[in-house]
Every structure is written in structure tokens, then in C-alpha cells.
């Protein structure tokens, strides 16, 4: 009986602690900046076009082949009177969020820091009624960065922190 009494004391002491559960749909936990949801394309606010040049690096590196990339000549390039230094630019871009396994490899291989993982709750709450709605096109992928809703975290690969770890 002593053991059962001890168990009861344990449950009683836990009962007196403050609750740890969150009222999820109403209260969202603050996400760390490194949080990885699904990839998004970033928007160059200075020139008002995406950073992505459609170089296919992420498409080739993706383990689950969830991306489709098409490039075009940049209509805003300097040679045709625009103000952009990008000769080529992304034309069409699809990411199938249903296939993506959020491995971060597309972010690592990108030469232009043009893609980042969504680190807001909008990346996690993506349930839809039809699976084809999970195939995101260029407009859907750039909206959040264009309107400044995300503050992306691009990892510094293989480099140690400059500040000491405490």
C-alpha cells in the first residue's frame, strides 16, 4: 500500500503545478526563428522582383522531386532598359507541398539565397480539402515575402557561431 500512496502523492504534487497545455487554435506558441515549415520564394524589395533566377539547382537537389522550375529572359534587365542585373528570371515555379519532406536541402544549395523555409504558423496550418491545392505556384510562393510577412532565417552552413555559446 505504501507504493500506491506514494503514487497518489506524486499525482497530487503534479496536480498542484501550473498547467502546461496550450489552448492551441486560440493561442499559438511562439516559433523559434529556425522553425522549418515549407519552402517559400523570397522577394527582392529593392528591384521588386523575386531573387530566384530559375537556375534549377534546388530542383536537381530535391530528394523527393517536389519542384518544377521554368526560367525566362528578364524583361526588366538593364540591357532592355530595366533596372535589374538579373539576366534570367523565374518564369514559373511549382512546389508540391504534399511531396515536400522539409529537409532544407533546397535552401542549402541555392546560390542566390532566393528560397527559405517558412518559419511562421502559416507554413504549418496548410490543411486543404483537395490535394491539388497543395501544389503552390509562383504567386502563392512569393506573396508572403513580397508583403513582408516573414522574416526568413537563412542558415550559415558549416560555420561556427562568432559569439560564444553560453
Amino acid at each position: 500500500m505504501r507504493g500506491i500512496a506514494k503514487s497518489m502523492m506524486t499525482t497530487l504534487s503534479v496536480f498542484l503545478r501550473p498547467p502546461v497545455t496550450r489552448d492551441y487554435p486560440n493561442v499559438h506558441k511562439a516559433l523559434p526563428e529556425r522553425d522549418r515549415a515549407f519552402p517559400l520564394l523570397l522577394w527582392d524589395q529593392e528591384i521588386d522582383e523575386p531573387f530566384c533566377t530559375g537556375c534549377h539547382a534546388c530542383e536537381r537537389a530535391c530528394p523527393v522531386e517536389c519542384m518544377t522550375v521554368l526560367m525566362k529572359d528578364n524583361p526588366n534587365h538593364k540591357s532592355v532598359g530595366g533596372n535589374s542585373s538579373r539576366r534570367k528570371i523565374i518564369d514559373k515555379f511549382w512546389i508540391d507541398y504534399a511531396r515536400c519532406m522539409r529537409c532544407n536541402i533546397c535552401v542549402e544549395v541555392c546560390n542566390f539565397d532566393a528560397i527559405a523555409m517558412n518559419n511562421t504558423w502559416s507554413g504549418h496550418e496548410t490543411s486543404v480539402h483537395d490535394r491539388k491545392d497543395l501544389v503552390m505556384d509562383l504567386q502563392q510562393l512569393t506573396t508572403q515575402s513580397h508583403s513582408g510577412q516573414i522574416k526568413e532565417w537563412v542558415p550559415v552552413l558549416g560555420k561556427a557561431n562568432e559569439e560564444p555559446t553560453s
Binding site: 500500500m1 505504501r2 507504493g3 500506491i4 506514494k6 503514487s7 502523492m9 506524486t10 499525482t11 503534479v14 502546461v20 516559433l31 523559434p32 529556425r34 522553425d35 522549418r36 537537389a61 530528394p63 519532406m101 522539409r102 529537409c103 532544407n104 536541402i105 542549402e108 523555409m117 518559419n119 542558415p155 550559415v156 552552413l157 558549416g158 560555420k159 561556427a160 557561431n161 559569439e163 560564444p164 555559446t165 553560453s166
Partner: protein, 374 residues
């Protein structure tokens, strides 16, 4: 062993199907039990419901891409699975891992062991019939650990954080302080479990003497991890073939002599205390420094050769056998799963016991079906 009085009439054994989608089978495991009344006479296990061909998929991908699939092989202890894989690639490519990366790897692997054992405590509680309470207690501390992993790697279960050569990126600057906070919470959680279950007469009566396997049988079945250490065999890969920095710090291999379900529970509880000790020592030894070798090629290629690396995952020996014929992808990858070997002893441990005891025997070897089927 259950003894029953002889019947005056003839009875027929009943075939009872359990699973594949039954909460007590911890995933999609199916077993057909031949039962005589309440007593199990035979068990036929059926596996393969979660087979995704992860080994074969890795052969079509370069070494970095394969890491994501290793996470999904062992989803409750993904850092341990990643570790075996990247260590195999490192040995093949002859990469030197910097000290700091090794210490951080060790901290993360041990924290992952804690998270996995907490999961065992919760799920095992449900198996023996303590519905809810231990499960929610386990979730509280596991949440703290997983929040820490999310702050480091960005993901809660599928970390994809280790890379051949070291780590993908460095830990946040408040890593040590945060880890100490988590350890305080985990210590409290271990004390809670100890108080709730270890001496509880109902729990002891339910688990003691059930599912016995002797040391000799456990070795014959190829069991490993806490399941074999509970039978009195001090087999621990961290001690037998030290990898990372396990030979530089002080810790004990926890063994129990009884070989029953209760001993396997005690063994895991003791191991959690050891893991906390290991992480504390690692935090003291952690120094600033590089996390990747200086010269890393953009695309890692390995010379031809074959290598077998084994590490101690929470469920036992997690081995990776890697064959390379040169180039940037494995020619053959074979995962040695501890759960599959431990599962072989299920019939041996549960024949002659009650049906309800067979369920806790299955729970006590802590199977993860994605690791069994791969």
C-alpha cells in the same frame, strides 16, 4: 506460466487477430494469436505494413539527400539514426569530425534517447492499464526536449541536422543554458515516473515475472539495447566500441538480472538517469571551435569500399552497412534494426501467458514499426 485444470470436455483453440491498426501494437504491427481461453499458445507476427523501401531509395540519392530518409527510418530517435548513417559515410570518405561537432552530436543523441525513453514510459503505462496519467507526464518533458531540438535544427521530429563531416549549422548561442533548463525539467520527470510507477504495488504485480527471457536466449535471439541488458547481459555499443567521446566521460551500463517486463522498465529508467549525467558532462566539456572540417567538397564523393557502423540507439544496436563503388551515392545501404531482432523474441516471451500479458510484453520491447519495416 499459467496452469489450468483439465477440461472434462474438448475445447478448440481460437485464432485472435490483433492489429495492424490496434493502439497496443504501437504502429502497424499485426499478430495472430492462437489462444486457449485466456492463454496464448502461439503467436504469428506479420510485419511490412510500413515498408517504404528507405534503403533502396537511399541508393538513388547522394549522401546528403539520404539523411532525410534515415530520420524517417527511426522517427522516435531520429538523431541516433542519422548518426549511424553519417558516421558510416565519414568512415568511408575518411573525414575527421571536429571535437565541438562530436560533443554537440553526443548531447543531441543522448537527449533524443531521453525523449524516446519518455515515449516508452508513456506508451507502456497505457499498455499496462494506467491510462492517461503517465502518458501525459511523459509528454510534458518530451515537449521540453523537442522544443529544444526545434530551436536547434528547426524541426520537431525529422531533424536532418547532422551532415557527413559535422553539423549542418551551429547551435543557437543560448544552447548550453537552454539545455540545462531542459535537463532540470527531465530530472523532475524521471522523479515523477519513479514515484508513480516503480514501487506501485499494482504496477509491480502487473509486470513482475511476465515475459521472462534468459540471458542465453536473449543472446541467441540477437536482442540488444535495454531489452538484453534487462536479462543481465552488459552489452552496450557505447562501452564495447566507443564512438564519439563516450570513452572520455564517466557513465555506467545499467543492467538488471530478472529479464522480465519489470526489469526492462527499470533498465530504461536507470538509463534515463545515465543519459542526464552524460549530457551534463558533455556540456562542461563543450568548447568553441569548428563544426565542419576545413576542406569540404561541394559534392561529397567516397572511394570504393564497404563499412559497417553500429551505434547504441534507444532500442538497441542501430547499424548501417554501406557499400560504395565510388561516386556520390551508396551502391548498397542496409540498416540493421534493433527492433526487428528484439521482435523475434516476442513469441518466446509470451507463449504460455495471458493475452493481456502478451500486449505488455510487446510494449516492453518498445518497437518502432518504421524501424522494423524500413
Amino acid at each position: 506460466m499459467v496452469t489450468e485444470s483439465a477440461h472434462e470436455f474438448e475445447t478448440q483453440d481460437l485464432l485472435l487477430n490483433v492489429g495492424p491498426q490496434h493502439p497496443s501494437t504501437h504502429g502497424v504491427f499485426r499478430m495472430v494469436m492462437q489462444v486457449d481461453g485466456e492463454v496464448v499458445r502461439d503467436i504469428i507476427p506479420y510485419i511490412g505494413y510500413l515498408h517504404r523501401g528507405a534503403e533502396k531509395l537511399c541508393e538513388t540519392m547522394d549522401y546528403r539527400q539520404g539523411i532525410g530518409f534515415m530520420d524517417r527510418t527511426e522517427y522516435l530517435a531520429a538523431f541516433n539514426a542519422e548518426l549511424s548513417y553519417v558516421m558510416a559515410v565519414e568512415k568511408l570518405a575518411e573525414l575527421e569530425v571536429p571535437d565541438r561537432a562530436q560533443w554537440i552530436r553526443m548531447i543531441l543523441v543522448e537527449l533524443n534517447r531521453l525523449a524516446s525513453h519518455l515515449m516508452f514510459m508513456g506508451a507502456f503505462g497505457i499498455d499496462v492499464g494506467v491510462f492517461g496519467t503517465p502518458f501525459i507526464y511523459a509528454w510534458r518533458e518530451r515537449e521540453a526536449i523537442i522544443d529544444l531540438f526545434e530551436e536547434i535544427s528547426g524541426d520537431r521530429m525529422m531533424y536532418a541536422y547532422f551532415r557527413p563531416g559535422g553539423l549542418a549549422w551551429d547551435v543557437p548561442t543560448n544552447f548550453v543554458a537552454r539545455t540545462r533548463e531542459v535537463l532540470t525539467a527531465v530530472n523532475q520527470g524521471i522523479a515523477d515516473f519513479d514515484g508513480l510507477l516503480t514501487k506501485n504495488e499494482i504496477f509491480v504485480a502487473r509486470t513482475q515475472g511476465i515475459g521472462y527471457v534468459s540471458a542465453a536466449d536473449a543472446i541467441d535471439f540477437g536482442m540488444s539495447g535495454p531489452s538484453i541488458r534487462a536479462s543481465g547481459v552488459p552489452l552496450d555499443v557505447r562501452r564495447e566500441e566507443p564512438y564519439l567521446k563516450y570513452d572520455e566521460i564517466k557513465w555506467d551500463v545499467i543492467t538488471e538480472q530478472d529479464g522480465d517486463v519489470y526489469a526492462r522498465y527499470l533498465c530504461r529508467l536507470g538509463e534515463m538517469r545515465e543519459s542526464v549525467k552524460i549530457v551534463q558532462q558533455c556540456l562542461e566539456r563543450l568548447q568553441p571551435g569548428a563544426i565542419m572540417p576545413e576542406k569540404m567538397p561541394r559534392m561529397l564523393r567516397t572511394p570504393p569500399g564497404e563499412v559497417y557502423i553500429r551505434t547504441e540507439a534507444p532500442r538497441g544496436e542501430f547499424g548501417v552497412y554501406l557499400v560504395s563503388k565510388g561516386g556520390n551515392r551508396p551502391y548498397r545501404l542496409k540498416v540493421r534494426s534493433a527492433c526487428l531482432s528484439n521482435l523475434q523474441a516476442l513469441k518466446h516471451m509470451s507463449v504460455g501467458q495471458y493475452v493481456a500479458d502478451a500486449i505488455i510484453v510487446l510494449g516492453s520491447i518498445d518497437i518502432v514499426l518504421s524501424e522494423v519495416d524500413r
